[in-house]
Amino acid sequence: MINLKAKWAAGPYIVWMILFTIIPMLMILYYAFTDNNGAFTFENMVSAWDYVPTLIRSIWLALIATVICLIMAFPFAYSISRKPMSKQKMFVMLVMLPMWMNFLLRTHALAQLFEDNGIINTVLQSIGIGRIQMMGTEFAVVVGMVYNFLPFMILPLYSIMTKIDQSLVESAHDLGANNIQVLFKILIPLSVPGIVSGITMVFVPAVSTFVISKFLGGTDFYLIGDAIEAQILGNSYNLHTGSATSLILMVIVIITMLIFSRIDTEEVEETLA
């Protein structure tokens, strides 16, 4: 039960949410379903349909990046969660360190590495391997996503794993589980909330990014985020199809998240068993 005081305490945020979440969403809805004269139309949705291949590509790359993040973050988060507290703090700092630098700068710096005349290619050439085209490839974009969003996978995993007492791992071993069985029967099921929030925090920004593809994808590497940006701010200015495209992306993300938030530990346990 919410008492009056608690209600008032939430006030500032509610105002904020109305101004910057609800109203913009309503505006997107409005633009998505009206034409230039403000009349109701499905026209925008139809034109947004052209972006479906781009959308699929975005989802695909975001998915790859998310999986890579998960695979890298899980063992790392687990191993820091087993370390003494002082070391844990140090590692968490190291994980967060890149986040203190501006996102644009970070991505830009990565682009410098990947450029045809960038550091990596210079090194490759000097050791006789030769230059590799990296800018504008899916590889560069996925690396960019992993680079930028990995901390968002590590931190929720780490914070849930610190709650897994070592004695649980030991008692599983004690009852006859080998390392792999401990992983699938204890560690993964108990980390599900962290996995879910990590995936959400990586996948959502990755699927809608336009900065990463712009900096690392070269000129003709187009993701859904770029499409939306171009329509709302850029050269193919059309607020109405832009809104419609956003809406489609948003619906897809929401559906994904809904499916995701329904996953509970038991189901994971069942599928793993």
Binding site: S167, H173, D174, L175, G176, A177, K185, L190, E266, A273
Partner: protein, 370 residues
Amino acid sequence: MDTNNTIIELKGISKSYNGMKVLDKLNLTIHDKEFVTLLGPSGCGKTTILRIIGGFVEQDEGDVFFMGKNINDLPPHKRQLNTVFQKYALFTHLDVYENVAFGLRLKKTPEKEIAKKVKEMLELVNLKGYESRRVDVLSGGQQQRVAIARALANNPKVLLLDEPLGALDLKLRKGMQVELKKIQQSLGITFIYVTHDQEEALTMSDTIVVMENGKIHQMGTPTDIYNEPIDAFTADFIGESNIVPGIMHKDYLVEFSGKCYECLDKGFEQDEEVDVVIRPEDIKLVEPNEKMITGIVETVVFKGMHYEMRIRCGEKLWKAQDTIFEPVGKEVGIHLTPNDIHVMKKSDFVPNNSKEVVTPNPENEGSNEN
């Protein structure tokens, strides 16, 4: 006990942490179907021994034998023993049934057999009908029972228990002590039990291993250990006792607190300094005379079965127990028969309640009768 039924043997086990010796060349033989208790003050290495037997800690030196086979290199999941952890360590993502079934599932036991075994185990620990409960909503006592059932479901030859009742309140503890003992007897398996509660050790064990600083101090049946502690350390640790310095004038004659008493001990050097241990319940309070230690009754506390009294004799405060009490302020004599006096080799052990015994009030702090 004959030596053929040895189930676990530790030989020359040493373990150090950061250069600090925690276990020092320890030898221990445990027999099949025995209830063995490791008893000792905090930090003496009880948990470390248990974890070495369980395979969670590797000893620096020495060997662990299980039914005659060296198991030094056997990982925990391949050892035929199970552990009940102090913090229960239940799997919160599984219900009671699945917790108990955990070990059986790993062994790919047929579903039917699992169901039968889980039922049997839950009956054993009095948790029938709790199968589908979540473990994190159970009470501490119930969680402990699940942990016991889960460990026993694997049919271990040996069950290791590290202060399993430590987190329970006194009444629950007493009940569980009886139940655990019953379970151990009905299953006929070996229990290695860690506690620092001497009363628990006395009531449950077949054998008590008294430990101090990573070494075994004394080992024997509860009766042996209680009645014949080898020195002041064991005497103080097992049950309450009065420990006073004394001088052994000759065989069967000891002097302490300025009086000479006849005793049953012999074999000391002439006028050797010794520790004299006297159990509070052996003291009889009588009309004082000049041949005995005398003092003034300082406090009387009713303990249900008996009265516990403190008798002040100068700086020394004697603990005495009796079913009748003497009023506070009365002068009494401490009557001792030779049977009540236990003379022990002098050890550098200082009883942990020596403060209370020697300097009961702050003004006397620092003074010491030795």
